[in-house]
């Protein structure tokens, strides 16, 4: 029989809502509120020996003292498992559940699990340290949450180790675990490729970062023959002394230089400081990165209205998405303020 201690707030303990959020920490024997549903789900395999209750405001008015009280109660009851919540998308309650799970697992070595909505504030704070079963955003998803918590909680209480997050039905904790695969990587990769070519389902072993948000395509506001066009590049082309100190990788800066300066260049005035490609061909002829000669000809032929007087440059290697987006944003706003209608970007 698995012995469980369960942490809940004043609302789920039946004390009251926001008006009772100051309810002080207390310990009750046996299951209360959602604990009864949890116990039923365990089907005789476990019992809730103790319910720890604290009001949402009361907890956060003195978190250290309340956690000490939780630890003392757990030392007293010596449970095999601590369950907190589920707290769904609740802010204060979720954070309290996270703190309770940390105390149980890290100070007492008792397996602990809570249930939270994946976007709840406590998930960001605690995801790397505690076991979280993802839930819906409200108590309307209580039944599913209880099933998930019970299933994983029983495994943890038995001393079993964590499985990959999706198999466990928990929020990923952000680290990779080593495991022995049945097949070598070349075979797995070839199998995956064949499945992809056949249109069959396959599961990648590497989680891709979130895909870029789709940007609705912009529309050219004037006829091309009337448009002012700017040249922009991430290829790191700068005056040889790099006056703006643009980084050769992991850029945080961008700069603009007059096209007249580039046009007057005899081949020695500009170079690329980009650390991510061999720049010998661009250094020998910057038109291979910033196509000034071609753009000037097209301007003279009336294909475009005019070429903006400056080209814009940064270094696009190792650059964080956050910095890349900021740099793009800053360049775009300057171009708009200077009457540019469209942009040609080159990327190495």
């Amino acid at each position: 029989m698995i012995r469980i201690a369960h942490y809940i707030n004043q609302f789920f303990a039946g004390i009251g809502g926001e008006d009772k959020a100051g309810a002080p920490f207390e310990v009750r024997e046996g299951a209360v509120g959602p604990g009864r549903a949890l116990e039923m789900n365990l089907d005789g395999a476990g019992e809730i020996v103790q319910t720890l209750v604290c009001g949402d405001n009361a907890f956060h008015e003195d978190p250290e003292a309340n956690i000490e009280a939780v630890v003392a109660a757990l030392k007293d009851s010596k449970p095999d498992l601590v369950v907190a919540g589920p707290a769904f998308n609740a802010g204060r309650y979720g954070l309290a559940c996270g703190a309770v799970c940390v105390a149980a697992a890290e100070r007492l070595g008792i397996p602990a699990v809570t249930g939270l909505f994946p976007e709840a504030p406590a998930v960001d704070v605690y995801r790397s340290r505690i076991v979280i079963v993802p839930t819906g955003d409200s108590a309307g998803s209580m039944a599913d949450a209880i099933v998930g918590i019970a299933r994983l909680g029983v495994r943890l209480a038995k001393g079993e180790s964590l499985l990959p997050a999706d198999e466990d039905g928990r929020v990923p904790m952000g680290y990779r675990a080593n495991w022995a695969a049945a097949e070598p990587v070349a075979k797995r990769a070839a199998d995956m490729l064949m499945a992809k070519l056949r249109g069959e389902p396959f599961i990648s072993e590497v989680a891709l970062p979130p895909q870029a948000e789709a940007i609705p395509p912009a529309v050219l506001a004037v006829d091309l023959s009337q448009a002012t066009i700017a040249l922009v590049t991430e290829g790191g082309l700068v005056p040889v002394d790099n006056p703006d100190r643009i980084e050769s990788s992991s850029a945080t800066k961008w700069a603009r230089y007059p096209l007249s300066m580039l046009a007057a260049d005899d081949g020695a005035g500009f170079k690329s400081i980009h650390a991510g490609y061999d720049s010998q061909w661009v250094d020998a002829d910057p038109d291979r990165l910033v196509p000034l000669d071609a753009a000037r000809e097209l301007e003279a032929e009336g294909v475009i209205g005019r070429l903006h007087d400056y080209f814009y440059v940064t270094t696009g290697t190792g650059t964080t998405v956050t910095n890349g987006e900021r740099i793009g944003d800053e360049i775009a706003r300057e171009l708009i303020s200077e009457g540019v209608h469209a942009v040609i970007v080159t990327s190495t």
Partner: protein, 75 residues
């Protein structure tokens, strides 16, 4: 981000699939990684003509209304 701010932007790059993943809207395959609008294998005159053609394609892409991100065919 330039398109997000409302300016059509054509991206000339050898790495079209990365441009797609990064969310660019108007993508054109061009040149090689170290010289997206250069081709050192040609004579200087031929290279200039080729580059002008690439820039012309980029301008066509800018002027073409599109519904979603796309890699423009090398037409």
């Amino acid at each position: 981000m330039i398109e997000k701010n409302g300016l059509p932007a054509a991206l000339l790059t050898a790495m079209t699939s990365m441009a797609k993943v990064a969310g660019a809207n108007r993508i054109l395959a061009s040149g090689l990684i170290p010289h997206p609008v250069g081709d050192p294998t040609r004579s200087p005159e031929e290279e200039s003509v080729w580059r002008k053609g690439q820039v012309r394609k980029a301008l066509n892409a800018i002027a073409t209304p599109i519904e979603e991100s796309q890699i423009f065919a090398d037409w």
